[in-house]
Amino acid sequence: MATIELKQVAKKFGNNWAVKPMDLTIADGEFVCLLGPSGCGKTTTLRMISGLEAVTEGAILLDRRDVTWRHPSDRDIAFVFQFYALYPHMSVRENIAFPLQAEGEKKENIDKRVAEVVDLLRIGHLLKARPSKLSGGDQQRVALARALVRRPAAFLMDEPLGALDAELRETMRAEIKQLHLAQHATTVYVTHDQVEAMAMSDRIVVMSAAEVQQIGSPAQVYYDPANLFVARFIGSPGMNLLKGRIDGERVQVSGAGNTVPIPASYRSALATTGGDVVAGFRPEAAAISGNGGSMGGEIYAVDMHGSYKLLHVSVGEGEGASIVHIRSDRMAPYTIGSPVRFDIDPDMVRFFDPKSERALGRGIASPAARNDSKREVGQ
């Protein structure tokens, strides 16, 4: 087991930055997700850690040892590829045994280790088969077994569940998490699926356009996004973001009669701005409130999500008009076109600078955010 440290690591392909200089320290036994939209540089980052891609700048430390210019085979890492990359001409058993044979391990040790991981992943009945005959989930298990068999210092996984269907993904997600808990192995996991990242990781590295946007626990990136990108990207739908002007203890948004409260902890931070801010709140931060309520609008669409309903509310008119998402009771009898008023929990409101797009007054997150365990996040 090992720590992983990236110091100003960057990669350029030709004249384009695939990854701009980034710092990241991963503790021993930690499960870290690299999360971001397609093409943001997640795979490139992972491949640099593995040594399959040379860095353009910076240094990579594995267990405090500088491995920047070491071969992948010198780094003692295991890599799980998106499309498994099993050896097609070898049986499942030969695939799993391959890393041990490559190390010149003794035969009885190989047999013992293979039997162990095969047990762990419950693929004993597949040992004689060729990879191409297996289902996607089984191929993924074999790929995991091949990675596990050697007890590497760290696991690197590049969208290992990307090619599976939704149901299997959830099963495998739980299995990988279980394996991680059992082995306590340092793991870097690449995904573009935020639900997966939320569910699995200790920490998430949110990336976009070759840059790290935020590094934090699932609860942090969910409740305290560092900037507008993270606020929009995390959660489905993302945070409601409304342009507004500070007016005393409230922010005026989306035209007349709509205001968002400013919690006491933010007042000093907001005082330094020119008055223009972007106010943000999650769909579950709004509570529908009969006829009172500091905001109101017309129901534009209603999505049934099973355990809850998501209301799309059209708020304001003209320039400030926008759609706000609100979570409501699954039994609530809202109809499209009817008016609705709601209040926003002051503890759950966040503010951003419209120019720099950065969060204002970060680090003064409400107790609600800090205490929330990640299991309650997302859906």
Partner: protein, 343 residues
């Protein structure tokens, strides 16, 4: 596409929930082949086609091909088998044809000349395959490194294969000239041997190697191409996986490169084996089977027996024996190839 011939039957049923059970059920029975053919045929022809059964239509389609195949492939084969049991001579068509049983076969199998030819063929086939496979795979492996100018070198290497074998035979004759030949000059340059002291074509010991060298020179590029296709078919991520699995380059070669390219290599061996078993033109051009009959391969021998000595029955028996041998070997080989490919 088949709508014209298809039959659509709207059926109404009394069902209130439109979304759940649908208002209209479409039943489409598949049209027969005859109907489909008729639908895409001009009207006068279509009338003739329409009544036929699927089986009749199928026969109408494959009939001409089967007829042609029978006429120019199967019939001559059977006729050869028949002739091999007779004393027929094609240059004496008026003579009575006698059924002589297996006498031709006995004669072929006890003829030392035939065995000498078989031996020459085996020497030629085995050595060309060994050399071409080793060199072809080696070249492919080098070219696959994708160094600068590898495309240029690929083109250069492919040139011999593009020449006509008659031309190749002819100019290698000049290259092999003891006095003025480039081959002898190069050998003497590197070894110090007097160039006129050996004659590749004229010497009984060297001539079998002379034809092996020329064929290897000409066809190694072909084996290289097939091996290159095999190497290129191995995706990069397999090597990356092997890299993180800590396999040494040596192990990567033996555990991944070679086994994964093996079906391609085997295919190249099959093609070259078949080609060289029936090798004729290049060797005739180069040595004419000589000196003596040292490089007289079975195909050359067969041609002499059939069209110079006109022993048609006898040469038919030889042809049948060769056919059975090659067919049997090729079959066994293809089975092995399929087993390798199935992995």
């Amino acid at each position: 596409m088949f709508v014209r011939a298809g039959v659509r039957t709207p059926t109404h049923n009394n069902c209130d929930n439109r979304a759940a059970c649908g208002v209209m059920t479409e039943v489409r029975t598949d049209p027969t082949i005859a109907e489909r053919v008729a639908a895409s045929t001009p009207e006068p022809l279509a009338r003739r086609v329409r009544g036929l059964s699927d089986r009749a239509i199928a026969w109408a389609f494959i009939g001409p091909t089967v007829g042609l195949l029978l006429a120019i492939n199967i019939f001559p084969l059977l006729w050869t088998v028949y002739l091999s049991f007779t004393n027929y001579r094609a240059n004496r068509p008026n003579e009575e044809i006698l059924w002589i049983g297996t006498r031709n076969y006995e004669r072929v199998l006890t003829d030392p000349d035939i065995w000498a030819a078989m031996q020459a063929t085996a020497h030629f086939v085995v050595w060309t395959i060994v050399l071409q496979t080793v060199l072809g795979f080696g070249l492919a492996w080098l070219i696959d490194r994708k160094f600068r100018g590898s495309a240029f070198w690929t083109t250069i290497i492919l040139i011999p294969m593009m020449l006509s074998s008659a031309v190749v035979g002819n100019f290698w004759k000049f290259l092999y000239q003891p006095q003025i030949g480039l081959f002898n000059y190069v050998v003497s340059f590197f070894t110090g041997i007097d160039p006129s002291s050996f004659d590749m074509i004229g010497s009984v010991t060297l001539a079998p190697w002379a034809i092996v060298i020329v064929d290897t020179w000409m066809w190694t590029p072909y084996v290289m191409l097939i091996c290159l296709a095999g190497l290129r078919s191995i995706p990069d991520y397999i090597y990356e996986a092997a890299e993180v699995d800590r396999a040494s380059p040596w192990r990567q070669f033996w555990s991944i490169t070679l086994p994964m390219a093996l079906p391609f290599i085997m295919l190249a061996v099959l093609f070259r084996g078949i080609e060289n078993f029936k090798m004729f033109d290049l060797v005739v051009q180069l040595t004419g089977g000589g000196p003596g009959s040292i490089t007289e391969l079975t195909s050359i021998n067969l041609k002499r027996e059939a069209f110079e000595k006109w022993r048609t029955g006898y040469s038919s028996a030889l042809a049948v024996i060769l056919f059975v041998a090659v067919f049997g070997l090729a079959n066994i080989y293809v089975k092995a190839l399929n087993r390798v490919k199935q992995r």
